[in-house]
């Protein structure tokens, strides 16, 4: 990634800030779902389905930002 351009640095900074917040909320959401949920198998199933979607989109966005900044 080319960080010599301040615009790139700004895009990467905003990207990682948003992704960091989303990831923190996701991890905490899964944690409270499994900890306080009424059924562990149900909670884990929901968490896995969510994680698949979240990680797939996260991977796609990371690929995009790499392509953008190379």
């Amino acid at each position: 990634m080319d960080f010599s351009n301040p615009a790139n640095l700004l895009i990467v900074g905003i990207y990682f800030l948003l992704i960091g917040v989303f990831t923190l909320f996701s991890i905490f959401g899964v944690y409270i779902l499994v900890r306080y949920g009424q059924s562990i198998p149900f909670s884990i199933t929901v968490a896995i389905i969510y994680a698949i979607f979240f990680l797939k989109i996260l991977y796609d966005s990371y690929s995009t930002i790499r392509t953008l900044l190379i």
Partner: protein
Amino acid sequence: MTHRLFPSQMDNEEIYLVVHEHWFHLFLKILVWVFFAVALVLFNRFAHASLPALFLGTWGQITLLFTQIYTLFLVLALFIIFVIYYLNIGVITGIRVVDVVQEGLFSHNISELHIDKIEDVTSKTDGLFGTIFNYGDVIIQTAGAVEHFVFDNVPNPAGIEKLLLDLYEKKSNFAKEGNENKV
């Protein structure tokens, strides 16, 4: 394999009712979510024709990145809506009423009230949708430190009120019989 519904639940404690917020309230939240999801779909559908420059070269990559982050936000929002709905429960057992409140991701409150501390129970159905779908609030007046105990937007509030009063009657009759036997 199940969790205890609340930390102080006893092994032999009989659960009479576990109640979530009425599905219509979940539906309303999901409707707001759908509005934001439709905005993305419309953007992808119509912006190609009206603003083709947004999808070419570097701007195309930036637009793609924006839509991916927006999608990530939508997925996260739907997950949080579900988690908050699923973790907010009211529990009525043979000896107590428990209100488990998940306010956002970082606040989890559990209030308990023993059945024999109940002074008065009120069920309240408000509004057009509350009347049509039969949901509303159940307000429990207590003799304890917490004056009010409220189940918000629960289905069949009158039924819950009746259940609570029946349990109270049962408990007080049982206590009276115990006192008479002692005498």
